[in-house]
Amino acid sequence: MDPVLSLKKVGFRYDGFWAIRDLDLDVKPGELLAVLGPNGSGKSTLLKVVDGILTPQEGEVLLKDRPVSGYTRSDVAKEVAMVAQETHFYFSFSALEVVLMGRFPRLGRFQFEGARDMEAASRALQATQCLDLAERSIHELSGGEKQRVLIARALAQEPTVILLDEPTSFLDLRFKKEIFDLISSLTHERGLSVVVVSHDIDLASQYCDRMVMLKDGRVYSTGVPEEVITASNIKAVYECPVIIDKNPAAGSPRVSLV
């Protein structure tokens, strides 16, 4: 299958410093891809470049075979949705209002949401099991509920690709599982492509189809979890000795610190 998203020799530089360089990456339809790497390895920059918010100085990003630089911002937003790492709401919106914000790229300046938009929001809320929360204020929701609502907003954009920047970093164990179950169902049942940046290697290797491990802005290793999560890769990238065995439940690679 043709990739939905394709990065070709992409490099992005902040002032004098290359945050990512020489980066090749394909995202296939319906695939759950994890991006791993230590702090400062270029994960967040990669997401912003993929999303067209940052324009790379080198190489190009193809979205459905067309360079993303040729899209308008709202056209990108119709294909790619992003769930940012932390979103602070300054004023109180209801969960439904937040989800409807995902319709922004599809509405004209003085236009209000119509039946079509309500349908998309309703489907998104249902997929994330947030229908009960629709009327609640975003300020009253728990961390896991809020994250689900934000994923619902991304779904309401009706994108083909969803990018998630560390979606579970502020969540406890139960919500972590809940979010990854949700992400997994979006890809395997609905055919969406999901790129998730994560610090949680075990969780990512348990759920993801493929992984990319970054080091200093370059791809150090890529493949299925078993190929990427090896003691030597982790030693080289995270500069930390580990032992790898198998997760007794899922059979995926498991990392233990030495």
Binding site: D51, M82, S92, L96, E97, V98, M101, L125, Q126, R153
Partner: protein
């Protein structure tokens, strides 16, 4: 998958709802204006007012003069000022993502006041010279705010707010200097003006101000959904296609222009831009498509009412309207901070 949608969700905001609520507030504004025309040092009865408005019944020339040439211009002026200050407060709070922001706190008003006090000092007229200088003062403040608040990633809210506080302090010092050195009746004029003086209103001003205010409202309303997204996280707003830098700049300039004009004829009136938008949010939520007309019209009602109190409470003397708004506004604000302040501080 394949599951039917069992629960239905209600659309949070429809155009009809915006129109209905705005219309109700507009009618309430008309009612407040009519009531305000009746009240004052000179007695005007409902029958007389009806006569004046319809040209029907016989009314004394003197009464007519009081209502049409003294009270009405002042009421319109209060309405326009309230409309603009409150709309300005709402928009500033959104683009700076800070519930404390309002034209008064940002120093835009005191810049205008500096210009006006200078004009009074130099003996300029209230028809042209003072408004012009005051407008120039407000624009100077905006220029300073932009120079100080501009960062590589666009305007930075805490820097802008702090810069506003400093500019405010600086202009207040200059104004105090003028007041201390003023000797004759100019002293009284200055002091009154500083607390929001609507007694110098004239119909000729409205011809300039009203169209500007209406235009500003339309431009800002076109950005109301952008403001919703900006207050709900800039990264996502950017992702969804909001040009944040441009939106903020347009809002900032449009509001400042309007406030500059308003301050030039109304003086310093604080707290309107804080009280009314926050009341709106408490009752109606955070959607700017509804909050904009509600704040603007609500601001007009509030200031017309406040000015009516200012005109009548110590009759036959008058108070500057800024005294009334501050008297209500400061306690209200403390209440807001106590009850919902924690939500505004990032932890």
């Amino acid at each position: 998958m394949g599951q039917m949608i069992q629960q239905t969700i209600k659309r949070p905001l429809s155009p009809m709802r915006v129109i209905r609520i705005s219309l109700a507030l507009f009618l309430f504004l008309i009612f407040t204006i009519l009531l305000s025309m009746l009240l004052g040092t000179a007695d005007v009865t409902i029958v007389q007012l009806w006569g004046i408005l319809t040209g029907g019944a016989e009314v004394k020339e003197m009464t007519k003069l009081i209502v049409l040439n003294i009270r009405l211009p002042r009421i319109i002026s209060a309405g326009l000022a309230g409309f603009s200050l409150s709309l300005g407060g709402l928009v500033f709070q959104a683009i700076l993502r800070n519930p404390l922001a309002d034209p008064y706190i940002l120093g835009v008003s005191s810049g205008g006041a500096f210009g006006a006090v200078l004009g009074i000092m130099l003996g300029f007229s209230f028809n042209l010279g003072i408004p012009l200088l005051s407008f120039a003062g407000a624009m100077l403040t905006i220029y300073l705010l932009l120079v100080m608040g501009q960062r590589k990633m666009g305007m930075e809210s805490s820097t802008i707010l702090l810069a506003g506080v400093i500019i405010n302090a600086f202009f207040t010092a200059i104004i105090m200097f003028f007041i201390s050195t003023a000797v004759d009746d100019r002293l009284h004029t200055m002091l009154f003006w500083l607390y929001g003086d609507l007694s110098q209103s004239a119909y000729v001003q409205f011809a300039i101000i009203a169209p500007v205010v209406v235009m500003a409202f339309i431009i800002l309303y076109g950005l109301s959904r952008h403001l919703n997204l900006i207050t709900a996280g800039e990264e996502t707003a950017l992702q969804l296609g909001v040009d944040i830098k441009r939106t903020k700049m347009i809002c900032f300039l449009v509001v400042s222009l309007v406030i500059g004009l308003v301050v030039s004829f109304s003086g310093l009136i604080g707290f309107v831009g804080l009280i009314v938008p926050h009341l709106g949010r408490m009752v109606l939520g955070s959607d700017h498509r509804l909050l904009m007309p509600v704040s603007a019209l609500g601001g007009a009602v509030f200031l017309v009412a406040a000015d009516t109190v200012a005109r009548t409470i110590i009759s036959p003397s008058e108070l500057p309207v800024g005294v009334i708004t501050a008297f209500i506004g400061a306690p209200f604000f403390i209440y807001l901070l106590k009850t919902r302040g924690s939500r505004w501080t990032r932890s």
